[in-house]
Amino acid sequence: MALVLTQDETMLVDSARGLLDREAPVTAFRALRNSGEPLAWDRSLYARLADNGLVAPNVAEADGGVGMGIAAAGLVMEQAGHVLAAAPLLSAAISATLIAGAGSESQRADLLGPLVEGKRVIAPALDEAARHDPDRLDTRAEKAGEGWALTGDKTAVIDGFDADAWVVSAMADGAPALFLVEKGGSGLTVERFVAVDSRNYAKLAFSGTPAVRLGQGDAGAAIAAGLDVGRALLAAELLGAADEAFGRTVEYLKERKQFDRIIGTFQGLQHRAARLYSRLDLARGVVLKALRAIDEQDADATWLASLAKGTMTRLSRDVMMEAMQMHGGIGVTDDHDVGLYVKRAQAAGELLGDDHFHTERLAAGKWGL
């Protein structure tokens, strides 16, 4: 596994960054937030991203995708993190992984094409606890005629409000399984959750809701794969967001004057900035390694996903604190962009497990502590 980008990947990054800089600058996200639009993302932007092959680029060519792996999806997420692009990229990549992992051939053909084309938004609904706890799976699926019926509650559903469908985990016949629930199904309640990061989230309640099972048998491995992917991608997004917030802060240090000096000349601030630079430099390797490990089915892939998510949750938090502190008063006003990064970092940090969760997961799972 080479921890440098391939030429194809470099081109993908350039294309993603170019598109996002043009069409999804932070001002666009701010406008969307201020509009109060419940969807919380921009349909035309998402269509443009799909047109450019940037939606779930991990979907295999055989399934209608570009087959560039999770590394490519991560690089796109990193660019999206830079501009806080509001688009259901994360949910698309996770759902695609779940569908590819559990679905039958025909289900993959039916579902993945439209997903990659940005025509259908399918949100993953895996969590049931306020603090991420993948072992908790109380939602039940029972046979109902030809299909299945779900009963239970889901929370922290990313891009789950006004989605076209949801991939839902539930216990079926004593094992975890995955189901597709279509919008408007009976006994389905979709509650919008308005979060500090102004993204799209929902809580779902199922009460005998009709559902189609993805494939057959135990979907535990597919769910685990979906979690790994989600964690690695969130780490990549946090890397982009932290990189951007840090970069803007360094620029501010070069401009702002206090006590008759450019504040960037104060060694107290210089050394703090140098530490963040160093940690970001290391984290870049960790995130890329996690993405590559998933693509190469490395035995450590799931642990590297935790390493990346845990590392980036903590690092992005520290970067955001310093970004606020070094910007001074202006950085904690709503008019300034720093706050938007702070809020996104907090939300992305908590989703699919924060630093504490992943530290413990590694301690117990990887190192047997």
């Binding site: 922290a156 206090q258 008063g329 908590e350 504490h356 530290t359």
Partner: protein, 392 residues
């Protein structure tokens, strides 16, 4: 070792306890502080509730809005130990402050120390009775923590100054009646001098304030614009051109307050919240989070002890001049960690944009910047407490 509790103080405690229980309406006890549950006084008072009004009026009648201020200026006249007992008993009952006020927290102490007898007699009773709501106006756009470089100027017109300029981070500027502020009145003096501490009535055309929206959504601060604002010469506190001394004295208060408030009496401890939110079993499954909670509890206890020690040192006349800097630095940082830990404890649910925990989390970082940024605190400690040299 002898304890402090002389019998008379214990009597006083009993008396206070009985009175508070009889007079503090049950409906307003043990409510979370902050947000919009405080009464701020002013020319157009807004009471959070009728019971708040009752409580305020009863306390104001005894001047227990300002329990330790001198009685001749309308204060409660208690000594420091009695004031502490009152505070403890209010905390015990979960009674709220009857009146939140920058006049009490900041201007009053400055007037008592630097004000003329006329100023004390004019302003202090109005503060004690909540008649005037005061704002604080020090910082300016571009100046931040560097107060010495401020440019708002007051032109000497004989019996008054004509003030022009702009302030930022004016606490409650758009809701206040009057503002205490730093204005450059001696244009020819060196940068660190020539600044006066002026009291300005905001009910005039020359003063306008507009709120600043913070990342938490609150609008406690504002920008304040002075455009030929008229300020009588009698409204200079302390000597002309020596406003810096008054402001420094006040900043000391503000810093201690910001630091100490972290250990605040009211509300649940972080450990209690953690147990409530995740339970002992839930915490056992997340040792990292549990450890973070424990460390914050330990440091919080340290800050509480520091605050207790500061009080004892005060009585003994042994206060370190740098305690406010230390408390401000460590206290505000601890608050950011504590509020962040609360966010983690609540997980996804605490991301709710209208949640109390999210609000407090976003309220904490500005305190690391306000009142002299924490970098300024470290500079003060480094240069004055440690006497480390400056680079020429």
């Amino acid at each position: 070792m002898a304890t402090q509790a002389a019998p008379t103080l214990e009597d006083f405690r009993q008396e206070v306890r009985t009175w508070l229980e009889a007079n503090c309406p049950a409906s307003i006890r043990n409510k979370p502080r902050g947000m919009d549950t405080s009464f701020w006084g002013g020319r157009n008072p807004v009471y959070p509730s009728d019971d708040h009004k009752l409580w305020f009026e009863r306390m104001a009648e005894r001047a227990w809005t300002v329990p330790t201020w001198p009685a001749q200026y309308g204060g409660g006249g208690l000594d420091a130990a009695q004031g502490r007992v009152l505070k403890q008993e209010m905390a015990r009952l979960g009674a709220p402050e009857p009146l939140s006020s920058l006049g009490i927290m900041m201007l009053g102490p400055a007037l008592l120390k630097f004000g003329t007898e006329e100023q004390k007699l004019e302003h202090i009773p109005l503060i004690a009775q909540g008649k005037i709501r005061w704002a604080q106006g020090y910082s300016e756009p571009g100046a931040g923590s560097d107060l010495a470089s401020l440019t708002t100027r007051g032109e000497d017109k004989g019996d008054h100054f004509l003030v022009n300029g702009q302030k930022i981070w004016t606490t409650y500027g758009h809701k206040a009646d009057m503002i205490f502020t730093l204005v450059r009145t001696e244009p020819d003096a060196p940068k660190h001098q020539g600044i006066s501490f002026l009291l300005i009535d905001m009910a005039q055309d020359g003063v306008n304030a507009s709120p600043i929206r913070m990342i938490s959504g609150n609008e406690h601060f504002s920008q304040t614009f002075f455009d030929d604002a008229v300020v009588p010469m009698a409204n200079v506190v302390g000597e002309r051109g020596k406003g810096w001394d008054v402001a420094k004295y006040l900043l000391t208060f503000e810093r201690s307050m910001m630091g100490e408030s972290i250990g605040g009496a009211a509300g649940k401890t972080l450990a209690e919240s953690a147990l409530e939110m995740l339970g002992k079993d839930g915490l056992a499954r997340e040792p990292g989070l549990r450890g973070e909670v424990t460390e914050i509890m330990m440091e919080t206890w340290g800050i509480q002890i520091a605050s207790e020690r500061l009080f004892d040192q005060g009585k003994a006349g042994q206060v370190s001049p740098f305690s406010p800097n230390v408390l401000k630095l460590l206290g505000t940082e601890l608050a950011t960690r504590r509020t962040r830990a609360m966010m983690s404890l609540g997980g996804f649910d605490n991301l709710a944009v209208d949640g109390r925990d999210a609000y407090e989390w976003l309220q904490a970082p500005p305190n690391c910047i306000a009142g002299g940024s924490n970098e300024v605190q470290m500079n003060v400690i480094s240069k004055r407490a440690l006497e480390l040299p400056e680079h020429k």
